[in-house]
């Protein structure tokens, strides 16, 4: 029997057979997430349905010294849910119950495998929603959002995931179950919650959470503005923010995206458009929102806008959002594979950063288009290439590293919201000094003794990780 067949069989003592898969097809299907250039198959995949089952599984892994990797929907963009050293993938896709919506106290209790959008749908009858809204919200899970501390287009106004998490149930890397944080939002003692949120699944598996719900604004105004240059669009963003208006969303798309949208969906923008800016203002006072949008309009004009489209209905609003939401998908039509990078820079440096991105892509002969959460300087250069060509895969990795290094030089950060995963685990040191790194390692070791829980992610600290990098990273299809 193969090693994976063996592990699958032994797991049957821990979990019902029908929730264990270890056949060749399953091992292949789970060998990567949405980061397509680093793959490794697990030996088996398991789908627990309760916290207790997760705890039993983790204890079993610890006893057997088998590494395990938590996985939600697998939409992560830095390889976080990939089983770098094999072992077991613990999927949360059967932890999908919503236990309670407590509308009076604006909070909700759910298991970690529930898709983000379903949380908001369940809260909608009460006029509430779960504010973090990654573009992948229709599928990505609550657990994934917590692990990556995900943001979204509306992060500018409502913040990333962290402030919306009140309490989590965590199965730690020894299998013990903890309740961390408090439903009142205030807990005495050290703030462990802030370690777990953003821990990228290296500090344990979140099985349940109490999340904060936010009143859904009653009016929303949306506009899409076209600019002849990225510089003008960026200056417009700065002017909007300094005018005191805080839009709910402020998203920018460059000419690469404009071209992809045109090619894929026939969407038309004025000739000479080099950047699109999507602005959304929301609140409960229609007059105030209309005023805010009027301000945005006049600032746009002052900054040389070519055109401003304002949504007159919900349908038109959805249409304008298409430019943002369908941008990445549109790129899928240009080449077999894409990698979406993620870095942060001070907003004022956006134009020069973008020039740098184009230059790097041209040097490596790779197609690129850029999406940004412009309000907070979070940049997503999206590269498209043929994943069957080893040279192109290498070029994508090299170009990505050059871009991230530049973000750090310009006073920014290696990651805005997609996490470190395996993608950037060697780049952390470019941002943090040795003391910082030591602290991070200590935190990791306290929680994750033996490094069986999601090994080789964020801080690769064992020989197996070097081995993994050498063999699996950047290997063509």
């Amino acid at each position: 029997m193969t090693a994976s067949g063996q592990i699958g069989r032994e797991l049957e003592a821990v979990l019902p057979k029908e929730r264990i898969v270890a056949d060749t097809a399953a091992r292949r299907a789970y060998d990567s997430d949405a980061y397509p250039i680093d793959r490794h198959p697990p030996d088996a995949v398991v789908l627990p349905e309760t916290t207790e089952e997760v705890s039993r599984l983790v204890r079993w892994c610890v006893e057997q010294s088998i590494p395990y990797t938590p996985r939600g929907a697998g939409t992560g963009l830095s390889g976080g849910a990939m089983a770098a050293r094999g072992g077991i993938v613990i999927s949360t896709k059967r932890l999908t119950r919503i236990f309670e919506v407590d509308a009076a106290n604006r909070m909700m209790h759910a298991q970690s495998g529930v898709p983000n959008l379903r949380l908001s749908q369940a809260a909608a009858p009460f006029g509430l929603h779960f504010a973090p809204d990654p573009s992948s919200q229709s599928v990505c899970t609550l657990g994934g959002n917590i692990a990556e501390n995900s943001g979204g287009p509306h992060t500018l106004k409502y913040g990333v995931t962290y402030p919306h998490i009140l309490q989590v149930v965590l199965v730690d890397p020894s299998g013990e179950v903890w309740t961390i944080g408090s439903r009142s939002g205030r807990a005495p003692g050290p703030d462990f919650l802030s370690l777990i949120v953003g821990g990228e699944g290296t500090l344990g598996i979140v099985t349940e959470a109490w999340v904060r719900l936010t009143p859904t604004p009653q009016c929303v105004e949306t506009a899409l503005v076209a600019f002849p240059s990225v510089r003008q669009a960026t200056e417009c963003v700065s002017a909007i923010v300094s005018s005191g208006v805080i839009p709910a969303a402020l998203e920018m798309m460059d000419k690469g995206i404009i071209g992809a949208l045109r090619a894929a969906f026939g969407l038309q923008y004025p000739d000479g458009s080099e950047a699109l800016l999507l602005v959304e203002c929301d609140g409960n006072d229609p007059e105030r929102i209309a005023d805010e949008l009027a301000t945005v309009e006049s600032i746009s004009q002052a900054n040389g806008a070519l055109e401003l489209r304002r949504a007159q209905s919900e349908a038109e609003r959805k249409d304008l959002w298409k430019a943002r939401k369908k941008g990445i998908g549109a790129m899928g039509r240009l080449a077999p594979s894409i990698v979406t990078h993620d870095g942060v820079i001070p907003r004022s440096r956006l134009p020069e950063m973008l020039d740098f991105v184009y230059q790097v892509a041209a040097e490596h002969d790779i197609g690129v288009a850029n999406l940004f959460h412009a309000g907070d300087g979070n940049l997503h250069p999206c590269m498209y290439f043929d994943d069957r060509d080893p040279l192109q895969v290498e070029a994508v990795i090299a170009a990505g590293e050059a871009i991230i290094a530049r973000c750090v030089e310009l006073g920014g950060s290696v990651s805005g919201e997609h996490g470190i995963g395996v993608e950037k685990s060697t780049l952390l040191e470019s941002m943090f000094g040795p003391d910082d790194m030591r602290l991070q390692r200590i935190a990791r070791e306290i929680f994750n003794e033996g490094d069986l829980c999601n090994p080789c992610k964020v801080i690769p600290n064992q020989k197996g990780c070097v081995e993994h990098r050498r063999r699996s990273r950047g290997v063509a299809w």
């Binding site: 097809a25 399953a26 299907a29 939409t75 599928v139 998908g329 894409i338």
Partner: protein, 381 residues
């Protein structure tokens, strides 16, 4: 339309946006039972990194409902990919029994006979020819059940209305309604006999499916179908001259005629057949027609465009998943407290009918055509 698996599979960027749209994924939570997983595995087999045998379970468990196609931002033509993958699989591991059963199922005379016999069996069930257990057999509808036609004489033109294997034979009353409705918009329906090949194309016999589609002879007339599965396939195989009945009726202005009918006090829930909604993008037309009937209240149906599990012969091949999805669908239907649930595909109708019977529900299952025609010719309860 691409004929190369690789052209389609490499369009997938692994974003996962299709996962929650996929009924087999939401039921199992398994990547191997998701569109992204299936595309990845088909690509792996296609490029020689896995054998077709190892990916068989993943491909077999797919409904072919194409909900993933609607959800995909990257334009992956999943329906086509599945046809190609299944025909590659059939070549790698031929299934002669399936071929025989398909042949038998697509012969109207045999179908009618077995349905008539099945109706006599206790509980209206027969042994499942393609899997374990027993399966419900639809009871054929009566022929000539409508009162004499008193509408306008069709003078505007002619169309070829596909009789197919099931519509004319098991759903005679519905199919007669379709003929009468076409007459009401001025179109004379000439019957188009023969099998369109959809079941073949969707189950690994792509060449045979194409052969059957091409062998149909509409004598130069535009083809109209009242079966979503056939229509979807014929549009793919024969192109744009093929139309679903609801498109033709709405184009012909049937909604304004309906608006002048006597009120029909009905609460109607509309179930989107996959091969109308996801396959042909037809959602609005049937709803607009139903809503045009005075007195009809269209009530919202949760997950209206999620597959009911029937999916061609899927309910025979994968009865367990098919029944899970049927239960899920029927729960949503009962929650609407509708009088009738309408759909535009014979497979869905027969399958939903079985659920209605099993649960002893008073909700009637009807083809959209039957309700529309009842607005003109009277409601029989």
């Amino acid at each position: 339309m691409s004929s190369d698996l690789i052209d389609i599979s490499t369009r997938c960027i692994r974003c996962g946006f299709c996962l929650e749209a996929c009924p087999t994924f939401t039921e199992t939570g398994l990547e191997t039972h998701s569109p992204r997983g299936r595309i990845y595995l088909a690509r792996s087999a296609d490029e020689g990194q896995a054998s077709w045998t190892t990916v068989r379970k993943s491909i077999d468990s797919c409904l072919g409902c194409r909900a993933c196609e609607t959800a995909c931002p990257s334009g992956v033509e999943y329906g086509r990919l599945l046809e190609l993958a299944r025909s590659r699989l059939e070549r790698a591991e031929p299934d002669r029994h399936l071929a025989r059963v398909l042949d038998w199922m697509t012969r109207p005379s045999l179908l009618r006979l077995s349905a008539a016999l099945g109706g006599l069996l206790p509980g209206g069930e027969a042994p499942n020819p393609l899997g374990p257990g027993r399966t419900p057999v639809p009871r054929p509808q009566p022929r000539g059940d409508w009162p004499p036609y008193e509408g306008p004489v069709p003078k505007r033109g002619e169309v070829a209305l596909l009789a197919g294997c099931a519509m004319d034979c098991l759903f005679a009353r519905t199919h007669e309604a379709s003929v009468r409705l076409l007459a009401r918009v001025g179109l004379l329906a000439r019957p188009l006999h023969g099998c369109c090949g959809a079941l073949h194309a969707h189950n690994g016999f792509l060449d045979e499916g194409v052969r059957r589609a091409e062998a149909l002879d509409p004598r130069g007339l535009p083809i109209v179908t009242d079966s979503a599965g056939c229509g979807g396939w014929l549009k793919e195989a024969r192109g744009s001259k093929v139309k679903d009945l609801s498109e033709v009726l709405l184009d012909g202005g049937l909604d304004s005629d309906l608006g002048r009918c006597e009120p029909l006090r009905l609460r109607v829930a509309y179930h989107d057949a996959c091969h109308l909604a996801h396959g042909q993008g037809i959602r609005a037309q049937p709803r607009a027609l139903l809503a045009a009937i005075p007195g009809v209240e269209l009530v919202p149906l949760a997950e209206s465009d999620t597959c009911c599990g029937s999916a061609g012969i899927y309910n025979l091949r994968e009865p367990e998943m098919a029944n899970l999805l049927l239960d899920r669908k029927w729960r949503h239907i009962e929650a609407t407290h509708a009088d009738v649930v309408a759909a535009g595909n014979p497979g869905c109708l027969a399958w939903l009918q079985a659920a209605a019977q099993r649960s002893g529900s008073r909700i009637r299952v009807m083809h959209t055509s039957e309700i529309l025609e009842a607005a003109f010719s009277g409601w029989s309860s």
